[in-house]
Assembly symmetry: D2
Homo-oligomer: 159 residues x 4
Amino acid sequence: MKKNIRKQVRIGIIGGAKPNPESRKTAYETGRLIAEKQAVLVCGGLSGVMEAAARGHKEAGGVSIGILPGSSTKDANPYIDIPIATGLGYTRNSLVVMNSDVLIAIDGHYGTLSEIAYGFIQDKKVIGLGTWDINGILKADSPEQAVELALKPFFPLVR
Amino acid sequence: MKKNIRKQVRIGIIGGAKPNPESRKTAYETGRLIAEKQAVLVCGGLSGVMEAAARGHKEAGGVSIGILPGSSTKDANPYIDIPIATGLGYTRNSLVVMNSDVLIAIDGHYGTLSEIAYGFIQDKKVIGLGTWDINGILKADSPEQAVELALKPFFPLVR
Amino acid sequence: MKKNIRKQVRIGIIGGAKPNPESRKTAYETGRLIAEKQAVLVCGGLSGVMEAAARGHKEAGGVSIGILPGSSTKDANPYIDIPIATGLGYTRNSLVVMNSDVLIAIDGHYGTLSEIAYGFIQDKKVIGLGTWDINGILKADSPEQAVELALKPFFPLVR
Amino acid sequence: MKKNIRKQVRIGIIGGAKPNPESRKTAYETGRLIAEKQAVLVCGGLSGVMEAAARGHKEAGGVSIGILPGSSTKDANPYIDIPIATGLGYTRNSLVVMNSDVLIAIDGHYGTLSEIAYGFIQDKKVIGLGTWDINGILKADSPEQAVELALKPFFPLVR
């Protein structure tokens, strides 16, 4: 794993801290699939969609990065492998996007909306799974389709 | 002016860098009205809606704050009185909102969408003039109505 | 004042939150002189050296900008005219420097040291009044000399 | 490795982008020793001391995190495993420190000085190898001693 981690595609999962049970399940499943595809999971590192996705991802053997609002790496949920403290508060949402090659939005409230907006500001592909209906989002019907959309016709990754 | 500037309500104008002529005129007019109401204008300090609003505001005698993405205060449009450099790039959008008591969104693209989202994240009132249709925005039909909505039943300002 | 505020030189005062009485007096006097010279005072907006300088500056009729660590403009000391919230915590120290044309360091601990370092990173002139002994600082013996050094052979200010 | 990466101590290496050959060698050796001790290397991700340390660390099998000033993960030197983009410019220096449990400063100029200052602001242990002479730094005479000081009587790490 280690040898390739920098070259792996990074899929950012953005979504609410208080999702309903179905969105939580969707996030878990999406995280799991991302690990199976050998991609890195990036998220905000906290609870809800972020935690469910990181848990699914970790259980399938993936390595995840959590870009935290607080100034302590301890704040990350237990499934995050690489917690990154920023001390920026919600202003860090822009950095979650900056560190993702492509985004999957699941459920979510205004925080997620800010990240969707940053996705387009930063010219990232944004895939939606039951989230805000914003012009430009590619809608997916399932975690499988979302991850497929995230990885297929992918730009040549140079990092 | 000086004696009271800290106590004045700060109205943030958010909007696109490349508005159509009508939105530019709306921004100009809104900026002018904000000055007439003795309120401070806060914006992103650059071109388009930001510049038109700052120009209207300055021509009516107001004092404006521009929260800039770059690291030089020189980047501000010529109508900004207090340019603030951040060096944060678009990540500074959150700070435009943080320094406003209430927001008026005019036209705008994804940058404006991120600021609308931060408005709700930070529990600010967000008024819309021909902008994104996001749940929670108070729609106004004219600059007059927008500024009236921004200032009427206003929370007691403590700063 | 208003007409010229953008064109006025901005002198940043950096220094500790808990100075001894003498440093507090030095800060007060320096703030006062900055106002007399028609320059804007920039500081971190909180207590100690920042508050004493802002108080002296305000009592002499100046306009001051406080770049705050927190996310609320209410955090500023009562003598700040233009509080700017950043929500960046101590990471905002870089922005205090970024918004100053020249710096005067008074007393101070590690926070001040970080601002002195940013002064040199950002190619600003740094004047010291009883502060860290760092290579590159221009030492002054009095507030008068510090403000004189800050303003004399000054670069042509374009903003 | 993966199982434990979050629990590993993170040692931040701070130092100049243009070190002399000896400091480069010191950085390389320090990076190597950090990997041998099963610790994660954190640095600014760019050239000079950062690159030499990351190279030594990678050659000894370590995993490194680079907290970058720019907005692209591509900016990292080739030995960084986990590049983190911030888009904050030099303001990111505070985040390099925030993501380290303990710091080793090697050589360095004003950027390094700002990171040493943030080390003390954030209550981190700061070890010096031929760097600034700042009160509070624990001086080491060799990479071996620096890494030993970094890891011995270490606080119980909870993350």
